[in-house]
C-alpha cells in the first residue's frame, strides 16, 4: 500500500499543475464552445446516432481482437527467447509513432484490393476490405493493439515468476498455470491495456478515413462524422466530440473502480 506524503513539496505540485493545464485546458475550451441549448438535438440526429453506434461497436471489436491476439504476443515477447526478439518488440510498437494517415496508407498496401494480402483475398475469395466495416475494425486494431501489448508485456516481465514455478511444482500443467496463476497476476495490467486500446480505437481517425474510407453507415465513425461536420456545422461537431469524450470518461472511470481495484 502506498504511503501518503504528509506535506507535499511545492515543486511537484507546481509541475503537476502545469501538466493539468496542458491536459485539461483544451477540454475546457471545448466545453465553453459547446452548444448547450441544442446539444441534445445535435447528438440525437439520425446521422450522429448511427456514427456513435458504429464507433462503439467497431471499437469494442478492435479491443476484443487486440486482447485475443495481443496477449499471446505479449506473452511470447516476455517469455520466449528467440533471436531478433528486441527487433520484433520495437516493430510491434511502430503504430504508436506512425502518423495515423501513413498507417492508413500502410494498411491499404497490405489489405487493399492490390495489397500484399488484400490482392489474393480479392482474387481468390472476392473479399474486399476497403470501404467495409471490418476495415474500420482492422484500422482500429492496428493503432490500438500496441497499447495492450506494451502494458501486458511489462506486467509479464516484472511479475514474480516464483508463483508460476510453485504452481508447476505442485503439478499444474502449463495451461492451468497460465490460466490460474499468470493471468490473475497480470489482470490489472490487462484491464488497463484493454481500456487504453479501447480509448485509442474509439478516437481513431486518420487510419480509418484513409484505409476504410468515409461511407455513411458503414465506415463513418463518430470522429469521421466530426470531421465532416466541422465544415458546415461546427457546433454539431463540438457536440458530437463531447459525447465521445463523455462515453470515454464514464467507461474509464467505471473500469478503474471495478477492475483495477483503484479509486
Amino acid at each position: 500500500m502506498t504511503r501518503r506524503v504528509r506535506r507535499p513539496p511545492a515543486l511537484p505540485l507546481v509541475l503537476a499543475g502545469g501538466a493539468l493545464i496542458v491536459l485539461l485546458l483544451p477540454l475546457l475550451g471545448l466545453l465553453t464552445r459547446a452548444p448547450w441549448s441544442d446539444l441534445w438535438a445535435s447528438v440525437t440526429s439520425e446521422d450522429a446516432v448511427r456514427a456513435l453506434r458504429l464507433s462503439i461497436v467497431t471499437s469494442l471489436w478492435a479491443t476484443f481482437l487486440a486482447v485475443l491476439l495481443g496477449v499471446p504476443l505479449a506473452w511470447v515477447l516476455a517469455r520466449v527467447d528467440f533471436p531478433g526478439r528486441s527487433l520484433v518488440r520495437a516493430l510491434t510498437l511502430l503504430p504508436l509513432v506512425l502518423p495515423p494517415v501513413v498507417g492508413g496508407v500502410a494498411l491499404l498496401s497490405a489489405f487493399g484490393g492490390r495489397g500484399l494480402l488484400g490482392g489474393p483475398l480479392d482474387d481468390w475469395f472476392g473479399i474486399q476490405l476497403t470501404f467495409s466495416t471490418p476495415a474500420v475494425v482492422l484500422a482500429e486494431t492496428f493503432v490500438a493493439m500496441p497499447f495492450l501489448v506494451i502494458t501486458v508485456e511489462a506486467a509479464l516481465r516484472s511479475m514474480d515468476r516464483r508463483y508460476e514455478d510453485a504452481a508447476a511444482t505442485l503439478g499444474a500443467g502449463r495451461a492451468t498455470v497460465f490460466r490460474r496463476v499468470t493471468m490473475p497476476l497480470v489482470a490489472p495490467a490487462l484491464a488497463a491495456g484493454a481500456a487504453l486500446a479501447w480509448a485509442r480505437a474509439l478516437g481513431e481517425f486518420g487510419a480509418t478515413i484513409t484505409f476504410a474510407g468515409n461511407v455513411e453507415g458503414e465506415t463513418r465513425t463518430a470522429p469521421l462524422a466530426v470531421y465532416l461536420l466541422l465544415d458546415h456545422d461546427p457546433t454539431a461537431a463540438v457536440a458530437l466530440s463531447l459525447v465521445l469524450l463523455a462515453v470515454c470518461v464514464v467507461v474509464l472511470i467505471a473500469l478503474r473502480g471495478r477492475w483495477l481495484g483503484l479509486r
Partner: protein
Amino acid sequence: MNVARGTALAVIGAVALAACGSSASTARDDGGATITVSAAASLGDAFSEIADRFERTHPGSSIRLNVGSSAQLAAQIEQGAPADVVATADEVTMDRLVRAGDVADDPQLFAENTLVIVTRPGNPQHIGALADLADVDTVALCVAVAPCGRYADQVLDRAGVSVPSDRITRGADARATLAAVTQNDAGAAIVYVTDALVAAHAVSTVSIPAPDNEVARYPIAIVRRTDEVGTARAFVTFVRGPVGQAILVDHGFLVS
C-alpha cells in the same frame, strides 16, 4: 484445454463477424446495381443530394458515397479500393489516376469553383479588393501544395499584391483556412466561393474580379476496375445533366 477451446470459439466468432460484414454489403449488390462514388470532401453535400435524386430516378440502383481529400481518394483507388466513380477537386490528382491507368474514360469536367475573399462579419477592416490584403494583420491561405493554396498564390501574384510572409498563416485545406477567420485568428482569407457560402453566417465576402480570379475545375471519371460500368456511366451523365448541375449551382459551384 479450456483456454484453447475458448480461444478457438473466439476466433470463430471474429471470423463470423467479418463474414457478416462482407455478406451484408454483397447482399445489397444483388438487389440492384450498387456503386461506390468517391468524392472530394468539398463536394460531399452536393453529391449526397445528387445521389438521393439519382436513386429516386433510377429504381434498383444505390449509391454509396465515400468522401475524403482528393489525395486520399486517389491513394485508395491506386491500392485497388472498390470505387466505381471518382470526382476530385482538382485536375492534378485526376491526371495522376489517368496516367496510372486507374480510371477508364477521359475524365469529364462537371463543375467549377472560383476564389473569394472572406473577412470577419461586417468586414470591420474595410477590405475592398485584393490590394487591401497587404495591410491586414493576418491573412489565411491554404498551404501551397493544396489546390486552393496554389490558386490563391496565383491570384495574388496576378494582381501584383505581395503580403509579407510573416503575416500569412497557412491552413492544411480550405476548411482549415476558412476556420482561421471564423475563429478570429486571421482578419481575412482567400477560399473557394462554395466554402464561403457554407459559412455565410460567420463571415462577410468580398468578390475577386474575373480577370484576377482563378477557376478550379472538378473532373469526374469511371474507375477502370468497376463491375458496374452501366450504372457508373449513368451516374456520371446524371451529374453532368440538368438535375446534377442545378444541385451543384445550389451549393455555389459554377457550371458551364
